[in-house]
Amino acid sequence: MKRTLAQWDQRYTELRAAGLKEPWYGGPLRRHQEAGDTRLDHLRFHDSAAALRLWNFLLTEEQRLKKHRNAGRLVVGTLKDLGTVPIMVYALPNAVAFYPDGAWWLPCVQQLGGGQLAAADRLGAGERLCPVRALLGSLELGTDFPEPDLFICPVGATCDDLSAISQRLTGMGRQVFWWNLPHRRAPDPGESAVSLPGGCLAPSALVQHVAKELGRVRDLLAQRAGVKLGDPELAASIHAANAVRRRLIRLRETRCLPALEHQIAEMLAVHYCSDRPECLAVLDDLCALDESPDPRAIRTYWVNPVADLAAMNVLEDLGGRLVGSEFLFPQAIDLLPEDIPPLEALARAALADPMAGPASQRAQRIVREAQAAQAELVVVSRIPGASHCPFDARAIARTCATSGLQCIEVEVPPLIEGVSSALCTRLSAAFEIAQERRS
């Protein structure tokens, strides 16, 4: 069951009265709205204590980062990286990684009230770039998260927007450590190749190159943290990362969460909201939920994260339910191999990034997963300004068509009110088609 923020006020009182125990970041959801996260007023949340903990964990990351900073820990901003360098950072005893690109949700959550996009505009990063440009505004304003001690960013097979944004960051005087993530090419005939998480093949030489690049990152981290960072530490961190990933895989299998909370939970795989042990506890609570999805709802596979979280509510309001998703970071959820040298395992994961390879490979995996989940519809959610979207969306639509899967594209800007009529019509029409196919 889902509740509005106002309904959650009452629900929170009931849970507390029933003896709910909360971690330090616990409390009513209302306080986040009062602190400026005004979009919460427009969302509906799962009514479980586990969901409350998830939301509180997500919305207190800024406080957590400040605590880390005050405790003297190294704060590493890992740009673009979705599940590789953060694992290396968490191998250090006194460092945390965080995801500056995550600022792309601030314009939504704060309903533009934080001024990040306007500040990015003033820096020359306008609407032609994807909403990740909010991170430039956020850093310029200095209001959302502590300035990282260090930025690390891949270069090469990353999207044009991120490339432009991260270069602008250096123009703003930030030191960025770059490492090379080359395009994932297919192995030549007879060339030695290895299998990546997710099933793609890559030439061994490419994997070794990326492992060497990550070796440079390891050396930098060790030097900045003033500690040794060897294979045992990295292997232990990979093992801990897999513990998070196993829980997310279980959540994917059970599909007990509403779409909104599911997306938030999967985002934890990226950087653990700056506290990996607590992230595990949050996921454990979610995994313990026992809810059956509505069998009448149209089984929907969703592609790409949504800039406005409200879109996930809309999906269910109109009669859909999430049976699968690809939020652009399957490499942060696929299990990492633990029987090979750690840097090679991380290199394989980095190369498994869907944006590092051809859109057709991404499309094939999406269709494979959608079919396995018996999806009736694939929704490709476009991110305004995101340079990869037009290419990926076409490839996904084509692959769906050849597999007999219905596929639609929708655009989800940071606030959907202006496009809600179009969004609802597209989704409703797709559901109507799926419904007619059932009969």
Binding site: A401, V419, T425, I433
Partner: protein, 257 residues
């Protein structure tokens, strides 16, 4: 069983009264601020014209942009409703182009008026009736006259901008350069047809139906036929296919309740 379909579009609200086999009446009014009041007005008009007491109406199905703001038994998207209406009016159609005031759609049709796939242009005025309105206003003529001028021109002006705002600037430049209004009109019709055909992609298979308010404007059918490379057919009452489909769906669903 008598049912009503109301298509609440961005420019007008259309209503069809249906008895399960034929249209008893139909009408349209300009869209107002209050979708419910406008819907009631047009429905009352149709019922009065057809001599049917409103209480005899078994079910109402609302469709179109304003469907969620109308009191109705069912609410179904215009995608589904147009397909059903087109299948009734033009049973041979395999695909359909619908160009309305604010958006355009392309449907691939299956059996019994089911939609197999669709594409919509709903974020940009290019490829919609709004584009034609802007051009007609700039050239100081009616939409019908604009269409007649386009039909009579043999020398369409190239319009390179797909954005209506930029295209308007381009048209101002063409007027200043002394290009004939007919050439400009013809160029604009071609630009819209090109835009809609590009939107259609793989969806267009023959025979192609053409509906929506823009189907009434002379010249658009020819422009689409040219860019699609095959004849597009306009069913009878192209403005009402959505409302008709809605009325038919209301009938089907009421029978199964």
């Amino acid at each position: 069983m008598i049912t009503v379909g109301i298509d609440s579009g961005s420019r007008s609200v259309k209503c069809v009264l249906w008895d399960g086999s034929k249209i008893l009446g139909k009408s349209r009014v300009d869209a107002g601020l209050n979708a419910q009041a406008t819907a009631k007005q047009v429905m009352d008009e149709v019922c009065a014209w057809a001599g049917v007491a409103p209480e005899k109406v078994r079910a109402i199905c609302a469709t179109g942009y304003g469907r969620t703001r109308i009191a109705a038994t069912y609410r179904v998207t215009e995608i589904t409703c147009h397909a059903r209406g087109i299948a009734h009016c033009l049973p041979s159609a395999q695909s359909a182009i619908e160009i309305g005031g604010q958006d355009s759609k392309v449907l691939r049709l299956g059996s019994q008026g089911r939609v197999e796939d669709f594409a919509m242009n709903d974020r940009c005025a290019a490829g919609t009736g709004r584009f034609l309105e802007v051009v007609a206003a700039r050239l100081g003529c009616t939409l019908e006259h604009l269409g007649r001028m386009a039909q009579s021109s043999t020398d369409p002006a190239p319009i390179s901008s797909m954005c209506v705002v930029f295209a308007e600037s381009e048209i101002i430049g063409l007027i200043a350069a002394g290009v004939q209004p007919g050439s400009i009109a013809s160029g604009v019709f071609n630009a819209i047809a090109t835009r809609v055909t590009a939107l259609a992609g793989r969806l267009l298979t023959q025979p192609i139906a053409f509906t929506g308010g823009v189907a009434f404007i002379p010249g658009m059918q020819e422009a689409l036929t040219k860019t699609c490379g095959s004849q597009v057919l306009i069913p009878k009452d192209p403005l009402y296919t959505g409302a008709l489909g809605a009325a038919m769906i209301a009938g089907e669903r009421s029978r199964t309740v």
